[in-house]
Symmetry: C2
Amino acid sequence: MKKIIKGLLLGVSLLLLTSCQGQTTEKQPLPTTNRKEETGKIVSTGRVDEAEYQAVMIDGKYEISQARTLSASYLNSHYNLANFESGLLTLSKENYSVDSYLFREGQLLDKQTIMNWLDRKSKDNPTGLNPESEGEPLVVQQVLEQDYLDKKTQKLAGISLGIAVNQVDYSQDPARNIDQETALTVGKQAAQTVIEHLRQIEAGANVPITVGIFEQATKDDIAGGAYLLKGMTKGSEVTKWTEVKEEYITLPVPEGETNSATKDGISNKYRDFKEMVQGFFPNLSGFSAIAHYQDKKLDKMVIKIETKYYSETEIISFTQFVGKNLLSSLNIPGEIEVQINSIEGPQAFIVKKANENTISSHIFN
Amino acid sequence: MKKIIKGLLLGVSLLLLTSCQGQTTEKQPLPTTNRKEETGKIVSTGRVDEAEYQAVMIDGKYEISQARTLSASYLNSHYNLANFESGLLTLSKENYSVDSYLFREGQLLDKQTIMNWLDRKSKDNPTGLNPESEGEPLVVQQVLEQDYLDKKTQKLAGISLGIAVNQVDYSQDPARNIDQETALTVGKQAAQTVIEHLRQIEAGANVPITVGIFEQATKDDIAGGAYLLKGMTKGSEVTKWTEVKEEYITLPVPEGETNSATKDGISNKYRDFKEMVQGFFPNLSGFSAIAHYQDKKLDKMVIKIETKYYSETEIISFTQFVGKNLLSSLNIPGEIEVQINSIEGPQAFIVKKANENTISSHIFN
C-alpha cells in the first residue's frame, strides 16, 4: 500500500477537491441504517493521498462505528490490529475503487451483536460463534465491518467483513494452540453467519460483501498477523474462497529458517545494513524491521530505530547517514519506511517510495 | 530551517555524493585536537538534505563529543535542548556554509572543563563562571561547542559556541528569577572566558568563533528558549554583539497578550483550525502548536496532535482531513509540520514546506 503522496492542493487540484466536497446529500436520502444522524449532511474528509479512500463525515464530524473500541480491546497486539484493519482496506480496494467509493466505519453491526458473536455459544447466547464447550479453544476473536458508499448516489454500495481467528487462545491458562484448518473452517462459518445477519438489515440486503479471514499472530510476534483467505458474496454466500498470499516477516530471519525474505536475499541485505548503522551510531536502544510480502514479492519494509536522545545534531547526522545508505544497501523495488524515535517522541523519518529511487527525509522539530 | 528534502540519489547526484565521500584523509594530517582517532580516516555521513551539514565520521563511526550528555542533563527541558542546538546550527550557517564545511561535535572542550565552568567560582573551582556567593542565582547553565571543518583541507576552520543563560535558577528552593540584563552580561563574560580557553588549544588558536547567547525558557514552557545575542570573534574578542530576533510562541496566544502571532493574525487562524479539527475527530487527547518567528516573520509552525489509537482507518481519515484543511486554514508562507502521535508511537505526519503550496503526508505503518 502506497501511503505517501504529494498533493498539489492549489489550482486545478483544489477545484477538483472542492467539487468532490460539494456532493452533499441534502436532497438525497441516506441509506437506511441504525444511525441517528440521518438528517445530517454528508461531506467527505477530502483526500491528500490518491491511494486512499475519502471518508464520510456527518455535520463536520468523522462518523465512528459503534464497535470502534472492540478491535483495540479484543485483538492481542497493536501489530495485529493494524494488519487486520489495513489488510481489509487492501482487499476492499480490489472490489471497490478508491475513486468511486467513500469509506465509512461500519454502521450496520452494533457492538452488542458483535460481542455476542465473540462469546461462546450457550443457552443465554445462542448466536455465539465460538464453541459451546469450555474444553475447546476460542477461535473467532474479532469481527470488523467496513462500509463503502457509492460516491455519486451516496448510498451504501459495498461492505467489507474481516473475521479474525486465533492461532493461540490466550483466554485460559495454559494458552491453547489451534490448528489452521480448524480456524479457517470456523472462520468461514462465522463469515456465513455475519453475512446472513447483514442480509436481514435493509441497507445490507443486497450489497456485495467482501470477506477476509485474518489469522491473528501470537502476542509477542511484532510482525503481526495476516489474511489467509478472501471471498466475495454471491447472494448470501461466499461460493469461492481464494488464498491471500500475504506475509509479514520479522527481519533478519533467524539462521536456519527459510521464507520469502531468505529466498530473495533481503534478510542478509538487511542484516548487513543493520550492522553498519549500529556500528556508526553509539546510542541505539532498539532496531527492528518488518517486511511485507504480497504474492511472494516484497512490497514494503518498515524499519524502526529507537535512539536515546542526546542531541539534535546527532539526530540530523544519523538521519543523513541512514538515508544515504538506504538506497545503496537495500536496493529493493518496494517501499521502505524508516522511523527514528526516542522516548521524547518521533525524531526523524525517511521514506523511499515503491518503484522509485528517491528518498524523502524529515527531522521532526 | 528547511529540513525536508527530496534527494535524487541516482545518476548525477549519486556521483556527486560519491565524490564527496571520496575525500578521505589518509594522506592529510587531521587537525591537532585531543582526539585519539588521529590515525583514522575521515569520511562524512553524506547528505540527503541540502540545507544541512554533512558530519564527520571516523572509521565508520559518528564522532561524538566528550561533553555529549551534558546538555541533555543540564538543560531543563527537551524543548530548550532542541532550540539551543538547532539555533546554534542556524547561526553557524550564516558564517560557515553547509556546502563548504563539515560538521563535527565539539572536540576541543572536555567534559570536566565545562562542568567546572558551570559550577560556582570558588577556591576549589577558580574557573567557575557562576557567582561565588550562594546568595546569587546560577546564571550560566550550559556551554556548547560545535566544530566546523573545511571540506577541502579537512582542518578545523570554524567553531561555534553556545552559552545558555537562565531566566530562572531552579537549583534552590524557591527558584530565583534573573533579570535579562544581568544574564546577558554574565553570558558575554562567560563567552570571553571560553574563547580565551579555546585560543590556548592549538587547533583553536586562530579559527573564527561564532558565539550565541541563548536564554533558557522556564521548565514548563513548551515553546523552549531562544537566542538573544550573536557575535563573531575578532582575534580573541567578540567586539560587536547583535540582537537575534528569534521567538518561539505557543499557540494560540492567551486572550489579552500581544506578540508577533497576534499581530499577524496567526494566533486566531490557528485557534479556528484547532477547533475545527477537534470538532471532527472524537478522540484527541492533546493538541498543541509552537510558532517560530525569525525577524518578526513566521518561518515555521509545528503542530503536535496526540490521539488515542483505536483504528487504522480513523488515522488515515483524520490525516486526510487535517491535510486537506491545512492549506486552506493556515495559508502561511512558512513551513508547517504536523505530528500525529499516540502512546503506540507516531501515527502520521503532514508537512508543508516553506514558500510552497504543496503538502506531503505519511501514515506510519
